[in-house]
Each structure stands twice: as C-alpha cells, then as structure tokens.
Amino acid sequence: MTSIPMGPQAALAAGVLGALSLGLMRKPPALALRALAVASVAGAMLLAVCSASDGYSSAIVLTDSKSIGWQYLIYLGALPLALWLDGEDDVLVALFLGATLGMSLLASASNLPMLFVALEFMSLPAYLLVARSRPGTRGLEAAIKYFFAGGVAGALFMLGLSLYYADTRSLAGSTDLTPLGQAGAGLMAAAALFKLGAFPLNWWLPDAYEAAAPEVSGFLSTAMKSAAVLFLMRLCELAPQAGFIAFLPAVGAVTALAGAVMALRQERLQRLFAFSSVSNAGLLILGVGAWAASGRSSEGVSALLFFLGAYAFMSNGTFAFIRYSGLETRAQLKGRGAAMPAAAAAFTILLFSLGGIPPTGGFMAKLLLLWRAVDADLYWPAAAGAVSALISLAYYLGMTRELWLEAPHGPEPKTGPGAPLVIACAVGVVLLGAAPWLMSSLSGALTR
C-alpha cells in the first residue's frame, strides 16, 4: 500500500468541509451527514493503516509507531460518536470532525508549535461541542468554564514554550536545560496535564462531561484523553531532561486517588464517570511517568496503548449505556437490570472492567500500567494507583448492586438508541481480557 502524506488528516479535513457544504443545503440530509462522519473517521483510520509502513515526516509532523498507534486510538474513540451523533446538525458534525482532526494532528506533531496548534485545533471545537450537543444552558456553562480554563492552559503552554525557546533556541526539543528551560517545560507539561484532567487542574472536566451529551463525553474521555497522553509523552521526548518528568508519578497517584474519591460521592452518572475518567487519567499519568522513568521503553508504550484501547471500549460503552438507558442518576439505576437485561449485563461487564476485575480488558490495562510503575521502582505511586482502583471499585460495585440487586421504583425511563454499541464494547473488553495478545499483535502488525 502506498501512503498519502497526511492522508488521515486530509480525510478528516475533507469531512469537515463536506459537512459544512452539506450545511449549505436548506435541510441537510441527516443520513448523509452521519455517513460523512463515519466515512471520514473510517477513511482516516484506513489511511493511517496505509501510512504505517512508510509514513510521511517533515519538520513539524512525523509518522512513527506512536503516532500511528495513537491515531488508531483516536479514531477508535471517535467512531462511536460518528455513529450516534445527531445527524440533523451539520455544525455539530463539522465540530466533531474538526476536533478529531486536531487530535490527529496532535498525534503527528513533532515540534512544540505544532503541538500547540494541534492542541488548540482540538480544543476549540471541543468547547463548542460541549456547548452545542445538548439544548439548554448547562452545556454552555460547562463550555465557558472549559473555555477559560483551557485558554489559560494554552497561554501557560505558550509562556512555557517561549521560556523554553529562549533557553534552548529550539522549537523541537533539547536535552540540556537551564532553570529557565525547566520552568518552560514545566509550564508546557501543566497544559498537558490540564488536558488530561490531572488534579488539581481537573475541575473543568466533570462539568464538561456532565453537561455534554453522553456520546460527546464518551468521545472526549477516550479520543481526547488518548491525544492528551501522547501530548504529554511528546513533551517527555522533546525535553527528556525536564524536571517535571520525575514529578509525574506523584501527580498521577494524587490524581488517581482524588478522582476516585470524588467519584465516590457523585449521584449523577455522567459526573461520576467524569471523575472516574479523572482517576483513570491519573493512572495514565503514572504510566507516562513510569514509561519516562524506565528510559521510554517500548513496554511502557504498549502498556499505555493497551490501557487507552481498553478504556476506549469501557468509557464509550458506559456513556453509550447512559444514553441508551436514559438513566441519569444512580438512584434511577436501581433495579433496572431486569428491564434491559442485555444492555445492563454489558454495562455490568464494563463496570467490572473499569474496576479492574479479571478477566476483562480493564484488568489487563491496569495490570500492565501498574506493572510498568512497579518495574520502574515506583512502589508508592503504584500502591496509590492500586488503592484508587480499590476506591473506584466501591462505586462500580455500587452501581452493579443498584442495577441488579435492588428493587426498582418510579416510572421506567424511555430507552434510546445505542444498545448494540454497549454490547459491542462489552464484547470488546471481554476479548481484550480473555485474549490480550489480540490487541498487541494487532497493533504490532499495524504499526510495525
């Protein structure tokens, strides 16, 4: 297969343009818009596969195994939204594809300004997605909070970039850093941590995930989180001597704990899963820290890749269940298992997977990540990560208990679309758990 330079990005950009063009029509055909979204994401995925063997590289973009792998993750996270988003709204489609394009660019960016541009390219549509995906002002409120926090993070990144540039005279990375450059790297890392939702830079995240439509939250928590992880990894690569790297495990541990602790007291499901995603982000940061601490080993990359892959199934699946079931709070979950057995069973599997119970993908993901931490002698952060998994299990089990073991009350909620997706995601995590080599050999074959 011959590769097209920047093919995936081009596919997505075409999708954006296509969506906007369709929007010129008086009444844009919903089916066409949805098909366009799916086609763009799928096309990007296909083109990414094609570019795996001989990728295009230049001064500002590159194609390496990570960029390919992460593109898969991003498209995997985006695909559910492409399938289920509101096809009536051409702008929404354009925003979605635009954000995906930003992520895709982020995955390929090889220098700092490109990272910044990609970051903003990803973020700006995301703010609007959050604002627009649901009627009412809650989404707007969340988007404004998200916007200002993100804006400050972007500014901090740029300040860091300027400090770093002033110190190293390079926009692409350097090994030797004075305190000036260290500070710059630290500020840039803060921006990456913000995107991941590291505590205490996480506050925008629960608001955004709660206010957005569930499928959008799923998209943000999977595709965007994957992109942000790579963002942090690129920073580690560009500034291998940066002092923040040693600090990452601690940040990860604190985030994992704080996220789990906060999620425990949530009543609204989307907010709960938002905090759960914070907790998982903490594990990811820990994983990045471990990867960096162990000399950026390929095992560390595969662990992160696996975790994000599994998480793409788990998070998209849970948010899809929220959308499908129409249940908004934990109290509403009570006793609903019997009414929707298949989807609820799938949801339960996803919950167990999120809690890290074998034989699910979530277990393998946590195992691999914590193993990297242990392997890098990061015992305390690893223990904290394990404790966060334990705390998180309290609410995952709590939801299982409500779903199956308690008696229902109140009227039955109206179910929406999406049940097949929940089930597909559950099958996915079970496959990942039962045959974890599937993922590694697949990504191995595809990234080479």
């Binding site: 074998p358 034989p359 193993w371 690893a382 394990a386 334990l390 089990l397 208990r401 073991l405």
Partner: protein
C-alpha cells in the same frame, strides 16, 4: 496428556453457560460430570501423588505470561473438595425456587476455584483468584438474606483490597526476577525469590496481605462474618468450604516456596496472629446471638489452626494443616447447610428464635450435634486429626503458639455447645419459630449423611488422606 486439566476448569464453566437454560438439571449434570472428571484425574495421577500433569501451551502473551496448569495432590485434593461441595450445594438447594442464574453462579464459582488450584502461572493464578469474587458477589447479593447488599459489596471490596496488594507484589516479583536474570516469567516453578534483595520483604508482605484477607487472619477478618451471615446457605458452604482455603493454599503454593527464609522469620508475627485468631475467633463466637455468625467466627478460629500448622513448616504441621482445610470444608459446610435448612423453614437464624428442636427435628439435631462435635475437635472425628497435627507442628517451632492454640481448642466447646443447647435442647421460648421447623427430608438427610460419614472416616482413619497430601508438601518442610 494436556486436555484433562483444562477440561477441569472448563467443564463447570460450560456448565454455567448451560445452566442458563437448563437451570438445576444442568447444574446437577455438570456438577456430577465435574466430580467425575476430578475423580478421573485423581486416579490418573501417579501413585506417589506428586505433580503429574503439566499443561503448557507456550507463551500466550508477552512478559513471560503463559498458560500453565499442573496438579499435584494438594491441588487435586482441594479441587475434589470444590467439586464435592459444589455437588452438595446443588443437592442441598435443589428445591429452592431460584432463577437459572443461581445455578450458573455456582458453576462459574467452581470453575474459577478450580482454576486457582490448577494455575502454576502466577498471572493466571491471580486471574482465577479474582474471578472467584464475581459469582460470589452475585450469590450473596441476589440470594442472600436481609442485609445482603452491604455484605456483598463489603465482601468484594475487602477481599479485593487484599488481592490488589498481592497483585502489586506479584508484579514486583516478576520485575525483580527479570532484572536479575533477564528472563520474563510468571512461572511459579521458574521464579526464584531468594535473590531479590531489598524488594523481597515488600513482595512477601504484599502476598501475605492478599492471603491473610482470604484466610482470614485477625485483624483482616471482618468481612467474613457479614458475608457468611448474609450469603445463602450454599453460598456460605462454598465460601467457608473452599474460598477461605484459597488463602492457605496461596501460602502453601506461593508464599512459602518462594520465601523459605522470610516466611520463617515472619513466623512470630504470622504465627502469633494465627494463634491469636484461634482465641479471638472463639471469644467472638461466644458473644454471637446469630447462629450463622457464630459459625462464621468459628471459621476464623479454625483457619487459625490450619495456619499454625502450615507456618510451622514441619511435616506433621503442614500435612495436618492441609487436612484441616478439608475438614473445615466438610464440617463447617455441614453446619452452614443445616442453618440454611433452618432458615428456609423458619426464616430466622437467631439462637433465641429456636428451641426444643431435638424433639421436633431429631435428625437435624443428630447431624447438627455430630458436626458440632467434629467442629470442636472431638477425637474420632475429622477436626481432631488436623488440629492435633497442626498444633504438634507449631509446638515444635514456637511452643507459645501451640499453647495459645490449645487454649483455642478448649474455648471451642464454650461457644459451640451453648449454641447447640439453645437451639436444640432449651424449651422453645415465647417468640420462637420452632413450630415451623420440620425435620430433614430424605434428600437433606442424604446430603448430611455423606458429609458426616466423611467426617467419621477422616477422624478414624486419616492416614490415607494424610498420605495423599504429604508428598505435595514434602518440599516445604524446613
């Protein structure tokens, strides 16, 4: 000869799937099939009972994780216990009006437990270990008694807490081993923990944390009374009968072989806790007013004896402690079943809710009394042999521990007999529900006869049982 071992854990799992359609008939058929398979494998073992079948399908994934099963007499013994109690549970719950999931959960549980006892790759060991929690969570949560929800979650979280640290310990072990030898492996036989250096204590205590919760050892025991009390009768049987054994099995299979010196150095602490557990469990049992809770606390005491024996690392201690695992499964299993029968009839479990049952239900009284005597270590029944050998082992290593253990034996009568008297001998009080209690039916009697005869057999002629386990434990003798 690879297939049988894989079949061993796959059969009940297949049974779980079939149960979804055939419910109790599927469960019965597959439990019998499973038991038959276990018997077949046991017969197929070489006469010495030593490790005879290794099943390796080659590395299935990176980092030395491989699918590796093996069965020595210790494994097969515990699997046989699993299969037997599973069959007993199916027979005992035969007339319950429960959905198909009930039977499926039991079969899935048997499968996971079998996996734990078969796995020789630590990764799979852990996977099976954790997998046992899921069916048990539903068994307690769906078919338990009034406070079942709290108990189910507490059970899951508490035991998970222990095993999370066990997992970290395993990871550290494998990593450290890799660092020293350059080989990634999770193979129990290949791992050598003696050269780990400073990581060794970390790994050891992490493993102990996981096992101690499961055993359970004071002060990590408080999940057990709740879980046992709330679980349905058959659930309690599997919980006490087999799941608690996982902890001791873990010690025998993983912690002791990997850390021969550390485990010995830790004897004062671990043995002390075990000995204390025997007294503490007995004292707590004395204070209980709920029959099931009392038996649950007695389990803590009984497992203390197993631990004392196992930790002593003497021939008699190890063998006796292991036999005590089986004994406890039979005896406590029988007791839990009978409390379950009572609960099915009267929906009460309090000591003061009953009375005069010896007159109303003589069979029940007979079996309950018999099992109680076995449980308090009456010589001639199974409990004595295990306790005696375990204590004999402990005595030769750290006499004060055995002293405490003997005190625990003494105290056992002080909770078991008053409880027996309150339920079976004392006249029925004003609020008593004894009138609802009918005597055991033919099926229930058959189940209890089976258990009782086994208790008697082990009690009178334990030698074949000991001889069966001894070769597998020989390597652990210090």
């Amino acid at each position: 000869m690879n297939a049988p071992l894989t079949m061993l854990w796959l059969t009940p799992l297949a049974g779980a799937a079939v149960c979804a359609f055939l419910a109790r008939y599927g469960a019965l058929f597959f439990s019998m099939l499973f038991a038959g398979l276990v018997a077949g494998v046991a017969c197929g073992q070489s006469s010495g009972g030593v490790l005879s079948v290794v099943n390796e399908l080659g590395p299935v994934w990176a980092y030395g994780i491989s699918y590796r099963l093996s069965a020595d007499s210790l494994s097969i013994g515990l699997i046989a216990l699993t299969a037997f109690l599973n069959l007993i549970c199916v027979a005992a719950s035969w007339e319950l009006e429960v959905p198909a999931g009930y039977w499926a959960c039991f079969m899935a549980l048997a499968s996971a437990l079998t996996g734990v006892f078969l796995a020789r790759d630590l990764f799979f060991f852990y996977v099976f270990w954790e997998a046992t929690l899921i069916p048990m969570f539903f068994i307690i949560g769906l078919w338990g008694s009034s406070n079942r929800l709290h108990a189910a979650v507490k059970f899951f979280l508490f035991t998970f807490a222990g095993s999370v640290f066990m997992l970290l310990a395993l990871l550290a072990l494998v990593s450290a081993h890799h660092r020293i030898t350059g080989v990634w492996t999770w193979d129990l036989a290949a791992l050598d923990a003696t050269t780990l250096g400073p990581v060794a204590p970390l790994v050891f205590w992490g493993l102990i944390a996981g096992f101690a919760v499961k055993i359970p050892m004071f002060p990590l025991h408080t999940w057990l009374p709740d879980a046992h009390t709330e679980a349905p009768a058959a659930g309690s049987v599997m919980l006490a009968g087999v799941m608690l054994k996982m902890g001791v099995y873990g010690l025998l299979r993983v912690a002791l072989p990997l850390f021969p010196t550390l485990s010995f150095e830790a004897l004062p602490i671990l043995g002390g806790l075990a000995a204390f557990s025997t007294i503490y469990g007995a004292l707590c049992a004395m204070a209980q007013t709920d029959l099931k809770r009392m038996i649950a606390y007695s389990s803590i005491a009984h497992l203390g004896f197993c631990l004392l024996g196992v930790l002593s690392r003497t021939s008699q201690g190890l063998t006796g402690g292991t036999l005590q695992l089986i004994n406890h499964g039979l005896t406590t299993g029988a007791l839990f079943l009978m409390v379950g029968f009572l609960y099915e009839r009267a929906h009460k479990r309090g000591l003061s809710d009953f009375g005069d049952l010896a007159t109303r239900a003589p069979y029940l009284a007979f079996f309950f009394g018999f099992s109680t005597l076995a449980s308090i270590g009456l010589p001639g029944l199974n409990g004595f042999v295990g306790e005696f050998m375990a204590l004999s082992g402990a005595l030769s290593v750290l006499p004060i521990l055995a002293f405490a253990g003997v005190l625990g034996v003494t105290l056992a009568a002080a909770y078991a007999l008053p409880a027996f008297q309150a339920v079976f001998w004392a006249p029925a009080g004003p609020g008593s529900v004894s009138a609802k209690v009918t005597d055991l039916n033919r099926r229930e009697r058959a189940v209890l006869w089976t258990l009782s005869l086994l208790m008697l057999w082990i009690g009178l002629a334990p030698r074949p049982w000991l001889a069966y386990f001894e070769p597998a434990l020989r390597g652990l003798v210090r």
